[in-house]
Point group: C2
């Protein structure tokens, strides 16, 4: 199946300077993929020219006259930039002209716009941000990584369902194992929200293994780790922080003096292979789940290699009919939650 | 000042087998420290004999006839084991016979017992678990790491105050910088609890820099990172998980074949220096803050080196008059919180 990806060519810290060469390289490696570059026509044309690719049979430029800046508020982006590269790329998914879109732009604006244009899947209250994480055993899908800050038990249960559907679709695995991120000490089995979420997930047909702890993410204990976006975001960033500290210290040791520098030179192939294994660029591309269309968010600071991997993520999702899989699984499990939904709504109306 | 440390000699996965030699080694290195080994007299005597130290001028054995097991519930430990090594060690702090106590035993039981025996400092609702974390710049104190799961804004503000006092005492720094752990995206400035906590901390005289993100912990952006125990515990364990994965992968690369093994041999001094820098044993020893006495929790699986560092942490806290420092600072800031305290109490009574 041919896949068409709409690329917000202007998004991210480096805009077309990164997105255009990444798209060209991706087209070279993937003969069944078409790309629509969305953005300021002149800027894109200049980059294409610089890469000697003024025309390409599977590449099309779609004009958009505005650019959402990295620090712009979602409200401002939504209200004032209806012809932004970000929004037009999402429109192409909505209209069916593209199977997925990728943006390295402002996360908040991208989420708000995607939600407004594409709407959520029936039965899903809030979209979540999901990403595959490297583990000792392979990969684990974690969500929500920060789309929501105050999640209800029902929302966390919805994340678990969407995560299960996504892992199943991407990894061709039936009944992936699902855990809820929690604290481990025996006497306190987690906070009230997670306890209630576990009760709900237990009612589904998910392959639910119960609570997992922070270190279980990287042990690869389960296929899918679901949590509220507050905890997920902090955990993800702390993990990145540890990895960065490790890398910095390792480098410092190997550049301490001429002897260690010589050692580093000899050990280069080993260090390089180690680095590749955990290269964060290979894990670039977080998915906005719960929308009626595929939206992949690249890291804002992504370079060409990292953006390439975000494109790969979008194509893989489109190829695996991710949206249909999630819609079906949510539909299937929905009936378990009707009572919970009603009681949450009643509670929020009461407190309002 | 001479310091006396009460050691729960039976606590942890390895009991006296680890605690006794660690205590002997610690005494050797610290001529102004006395240690009271608390536990089953026979087991301790056997270990002392095995280490050719049947008597020692600064070592005393204090009998306790029971041992709290690692999987015992706090309720059971409190009710059924009033003569446990853990409890008797804490009693020695209460009576003033020891300046601090250290246990590698069951966290929940240790916290419950310590709270029951020692009581909390006036103005502190709940004790917190605090630990120094390695960062790119030095060390950051983080709390709560899991003593509480559903923290109120007022409790988080109390953690910030205690953390500031502890960092100031241990590192001899006036007005350490304090941050609240939060999510970073601009449009959502954190969950409701953290927002309210920030409002409270802003009213204190702490050197409050505002919100910090997960990666800021390891960047060393602030001296003290305060958060609820749920987020703190998960973040800590995820960080340990990443570090473990890094170590495992690095080792795997260096043991892949005869060539890489040879490389590892040559690079050993560099790898060792790197390993030492981030050796988790050096960071063993989490402090229970908010009690009227010093209680340091060692990792249950601690070996002799790790337990040694937990002893060092306890001694340092005793030497810096930590409890007095915290008590003073809490007293000093208390008045800011009277209104918040009253409103939280009213809310919890209403919901009860």
């Amino acid at each position: 199946m041919d896949i068409t990806v709409a690329v917000d060519a202007m998004g991210g810290d480096h805009g077309a300077h990164v997105t255009v060469p990444a798209a060209l390289r991706f087209l070279r490696d993937h003969p069944d993929v078409n790309i629509v570059l969305v953005g300021l026509v002149d800027a894109i044309a200049a980059e294409l020219k610089a890469h000697h690719a003024v025309t390409h049979p599977r590449l099309r430029v779609h004009p958009a006259t505005e650019v959402v800046t990295m620090d712009e508020s979602p409200q401002s982006a939504m209200k004032n930039k209806k012809d932004s590269s970000m929004r037009v790329a999402i429109n192409l998914v909505k209209s069916g002209e593209a199977n997925a879109c990728v943006s390295a732009g402002n996360t908040g604006a991208l989420m708000a716009t995607a939600r407004f244009v594409l709407k959520t899947i029936p039965g899903i209250d809030r979209p979540a941000i999901a990403s595959l994480m490297p583990t000792m055993k392979g990969q684990t899908l974690m969500l929500d990584l920060g789309a929501n800050v105050d999640s209800t038990p029902l929302q966390i249960a919805q994340f678990a369902i969407m995560g299960s559907a996504m892992f199943g679709a991407l990894k061709h695995k039936d009944a992936p194992t699902v855990g809820l991120l929690n604290v481990g000490s025996e006497e306190i089995k987690g906070n009230e929200v997670v306890k209630a979420a576990a009760e709900l997930v237990r009612q589904t047909r998910l392959n639910f293994v119960g609570n997992v702890e922070g270190n279980d993410i990287y042990k690869g204990t389960v296929d899918v780790v679901a949590c509220d976006g507050f905890t997920g975001n902090i955990t993800l960033k702390a993990s990145e922080g540890v990895a960065q500290m490790f890398g910095t210290f390792l480098k410092a040791e190997f550049t301490r003096n001429w002897f260690t520098k010589l050692l580093a030179l000899v050990a280069m192939p080993v260090l390089k292979s180690f680095k590749n294994k955990l290269d964060p660029r290979r894990f670039n591309g977080a998915s906005f789940l719960g929308l009626r269309g595929i939206v992949v968010k690249s890291h804002g600071g992504a370079d060409e290699v990292a953006f390439y991997w975000a494109l790969a993520q979008a194509v893989e999702e489109a190829r695996s009919s991710l949206i249909q899989r999630i819609t079906d699984q949510v539909q299937h499990e929905l009936r378990h939650f009707e009572a919970a939904d009603a009681s949450e709504k009643a509670a929020s109306e009461q407190s309002a």
